[in-house]
């Protein structure tokens, strides 16, 4: 069954049409990349899916349920998690505490004022698992705000993963990173996708990352869908080349 179906979604800000009737379907286990030139409406499109913005028209269907009007937190409870283009973490807490909060919320403990010894042990063990998976073990007890950009980004991705999502939305996971960090994050995403069969939709500028990871690619330009297909199809698509390289090409 289709996990995510976006039906003809549009978003207008006054006269500006940021997203113009875009449709997309994502199957379970798929890794989908959304690419496009600056200002193509990629992040706005993401915000419609995750509930940060509500569409002016169109529908968002997640796992067979219409979530178009649902608040972000409720979409999270249904299994949607996301990261942001500008890393959003809890800077003055340690990496371990960052993950601990995510694990506790995911376990339904957010209103609890007390945890049993067993529950506390399970939370701690899960946090250690997540730290292991991301290679943050050595830095677990440092404040996240003091970590390198790549480690902050890894923390954010692991926080999203702590929610045990069925759909992970990553907004430019390698933005502003050097080659080494880009490589590490790409490997992490690949590992999550392959080992856990996690469904991922990501926005990305770095074409090496996109072609390395994606099963299918959707190209947005000026708010509308320009093309969709496998990486090979997209690489060969003339309209895409024109959009990226300008009309002269």
């Amino acid at each position: 069954m289709t996990l995510l179906r976006v039906e003809n979604a549009s978003k207008k800000f006054g006269d500006l049409v940021a997203v113009d009737g875009v449709s997309m379907t994502v199957e379970p286990g798929e890794l989908r990349a959304v690419i496009g030139p600056n200002g193509a409406g990629k992040t706005t499109f993401f915000n419609l899916i995750s509930g940060f913005l509500t569409p002016s028209s169109g529908r968002i269907v997640f796992d067979g349920e219409d979530v178009t009007k649902l608040l972000p937190a409720r979409r999270v409870w249904r299994g949607m998690a996301r990261t942001f283009q500008i890393t959003e973490v809890f800077p003055e807490l340690t990496a371990r505490e960052n993950l601990r909060i995510a694990v506790e919320v995911a376990s339904g403990y957010r209103l609890k004022t007390w945890l049993s010894r067993d529950a506390d042990g399970e939370v701690r063990a899960r946090v250690v698992d997540l730290l292991d998976m991301s290679g943050l073990v050595d830095k677990a007890d440092r404040l996240v705000g003091e970590l390198a950009h790549g480690d902050q980004r890894a923390t954010e991705i692991m926080m999203a993963l702590a929610l045990r999502p069925r759909l992970l939305l990553l907004d430019e996971p390698t933005a502003g990173m050097g080659d080494k960090e880009t490589y590490d994050i790409t490997q992490l995403i690949r590992k999550l996708h392959k080992n856990q069969n996690l469904t991922i939709v990501l926005i990305e500028h770095d074409m090496r990352v996109v072609f390395h990871l994606a099963d299918r690619i959707m190209v947005l330009a000026e708010g509308a869908m320009l093309a969709e297909g496998t990486p090979q199809e997209i690489a060969a698509n003339e309209a895409v080349q024109t959009a990226y390289l300008g009309k002269a090409a």
């Binding site: 995750s50 608040l71 972000p72 937190a73 999270v76 409870w77 998690a81 996301r82 942001f84 959003e88 973490v89 809890f90 800077p91 003055e92 807490l93 505490e97 601990r100 909060i101 995510a102 506790e104 919320v105 995911a106 403990y109 957010r110 209103l111 609890k112 004022t113 007390w114 945890l115 050595d138 007890d141 954010e156 926080m159 999203a160 929610l163």
Partner: protein, 330 residues
């Protein structure tokens, strides 16, 4: 290399734990022995009682400000409602100190819960402005409704009742040391509840909201609900402190509801260090002692409080307690 890291982490954690235990022991030791050492420094027991009560109020403000990142500039409203609730109960309903505290705490806490529900969607300056407005509404009610509240003169004509423990009765009206210990027990109970909440999963969602509201929302935390719960808890703590304040003075004053009083609580929290659990208590101690000492020399004591506040904000952004802790560590 990894072995060294593995060993270093627990050692650092142990040292951290030892240090915080030592600090806790020092704080409770100083508080428990206050009636004995204060006279030697020119203080008196009632001054210690005031520090505890106003310190608890500042800690209640800080529960919201320092740990959830939400600034209320009208918290004196709940403090004052607690004081009036307590005083009116003693004056008109029953001569019982514990029940009067319950009455005052409920009055302020429940009003805070109701009004809090209306404003949790507001943030930052807007939230602060609305809380000021609420505070002033209660100030004017207390000011104008003279037949009930005594208006401008304040509420008089009640006294704290002796504590009936069943096997014996404790005079907390004339024995100021006994009253100090009564207030200290109340303070300790409230501080324990606060500390317990802050160390829980719910307490960590407070930190999450303070640190990054967007991230917290996209972890699936319903921000408005959590802020409302924290606001309500903070109002209950505030009203509890206000009830005790009415007992300290055997008097409730409309100025206790005024926004300038709200400002004083915020000043105490920031002065002492708002990221620290005990910061506001230190801030209150400095504030109250300075007020007591300087106001005997000049009526312009607020000038000196203001000066100290500016110095702390400019040079010790972590507050006095943060500054001292840093000195101890280095």
């Amino acid at each position: 290399m990894t072995a060294a890291v593995d060993k270093a982490a627990p050692v650092a954690a142990n040292r951290e734990r030892a240090r915080s235990l030592a600090m806790l022991a020092a704080i409770w030791g100083v508080l428990a022995l206050a009636p004995f050492w204060m006279p030697y420094l020119g203080g008196y027991t009632a001054l210690g009682t005031r520090v505890l009560v106003l310190g608890l109020g500042a800690m209640a403000v800080n529960f919201l400000l320092g740990f959830t990142g939400v600034l209320s500039f009208g918290h004196a409203a709940w403090f004052g409602l607690g004081a009036y609730g307590c005083g009116l109960f003693l004056k008109f309903i029953a001569h019982s100190t514990p029940l009067s505290i319950v009455a005052g705490t409920l009055l302020g806490g429940v009003m805070g819960a109701i009004l809090g529900a209306l404003i949790v969607r507001r943030r930052g300056v807007y939230f602060a402005m609305v809380t000021i407005a609420f505070g002033q509404v209660f100030y004017y009610i207390a000011f104008q409704w003279s037949s009930l509240t005594g208006g401008d003169d304040g509420l008089r004509g009640f006294q704290r009742a002796p504590l009936d423990l069943g096997f014996t009765t404790v005079d907390i009206l004339y024995n100021s040391t006994a009253f100090y210990y009564f207030v200290l027990i109340c303070f300790a109970a409230a501080a324990a509840v606060m500390g317990f909440i802050l160390r829980s999963p719910f307490g960590r969602t407070m930190l999450a909201i303070r640190e990054n509201e967007r991230r917290a929302r996209f972890l699936g935390i319903p921000i408005e609900l959590h802020i409302w719960i924290v606001f309500t808890l903070s109002c209950f703590f505030m009203a509890f402190a206000g009830s005790l304040y009415a007992l300290v003075n055997n008097f409730a004053d409309p100025l206790g509801l005024h926004y300038s009083q709200s400002g004083n609580f915020v000043i105490m929290a920031v002065l002492g260090g708002m990221r620290k659990f005990w910061g506001p208590l230190l801030g209150a101690a400095v504030f109250v002692v300075l007020q007591d000492y300087v106001s005997s020399l000049t009526v312009n004591w607020q000038f000196f409080i203001g000066l100290l506040f500016v110095v702390v904000v400019l040079f010790f952004p972590r507050g006095l307690l943060g500054f001292f802790q840093q000195r101890v560590q280095s």
